[in-house]
Symmetry: C2
Subunit: 147 residues, 2 copies
């Protein structure tokens, strides 16, 4: 149920002349067709980006991935792999050996996302210290307010 009704639209944009909705539309986030929410919500979850980065080094089998991403449960690994496969970012290939071996590897689409994803990871690494210091300072300020 959308919280933003027609009746409110006229009221939007009190600080900027351009309305919020118009700004979203201009940026391509038309709610019904928003790549940010539709794509980033998937790969932005707790495990997907980790899996993609792990597969960057080459194909891996299920149990290998389970060991490579240490804290993930089998259930979440299965689920994340299914989502990534559904989005076409990786390919699941079953070898009919006994017992069957299952290999996961990046699709061309999945290879393609490594660029932007790597840039974000690079940024995170580069500013990790600054972020952690900001957290420490915030927590100190918060503790002072309670005291």
């Amino acid at each position: 149920m959308p919280r933003l009704q027609k009746g409110n639209l006229a009221l939007i944009g009190d600080a900027t002349p351009e309305s919020a909705i118009a700004r979203w539309e201009r940026l391509g986030f038309s709610l019904a067709n928003c790549p940010v929410r539709d794509v980033l919500d998937q790969i932005g979850d707790k495990w997907s980006s980790l899996i993609l980065l792990t597969l960057a080094d080459g194909p891996q089998r299920f149990s290998q991935l389970h060991r490579c991403v240490p804290d993930i449960s089998k259930r979440m690994l299965t689920q994340s792999l299914r989502n990534l496969e559904r989005d076409g970012l990786l390919i699941r290939q079953v070898f009919p050996t006994k017992p069957p071996a299952v290999e996961y590897r990046l699709s061309p689409l999945g290879q393609g996302i490594l660029g932007p994803l790597g840039a974000l990871v690079g940024w995170a690494e580069q500013h990790h210290d600054a972020i952690r210091q900001a957290r420490r300072e915030f927590d100190i300020r918060e503790a002072e307010l309670l005291a």
Copy 2:
């Protein structure tokens, strides 16, 4: 509780000569100090990236943001803003008017993440159709298996 004990470490790396742990270390994901998990888990949640992108256009007040990000609840908006503020990505400024006005704006750090984040959004926009088609095909294949 980590699922990866010392006892298992010797068993890792059956397909590749390099062990999984060594690979993680080489990539900088030292578990205790992993920027991917420590940073991307925060900004990779459902709302934070949306908020950052909204603030890219300029400072916004609480209620403006609430209208700009249509489906978010006040609770989650407060929480997301607090997290982003704690990480030093945005600045919360209270104007002592009556009633007080609260303005949120990107910090220099927050401005900096717009680059990598924008690259990822750009990628998402560019490949949105391919992803949606992959999903359709996956769902069709799945339905066929059930039939």
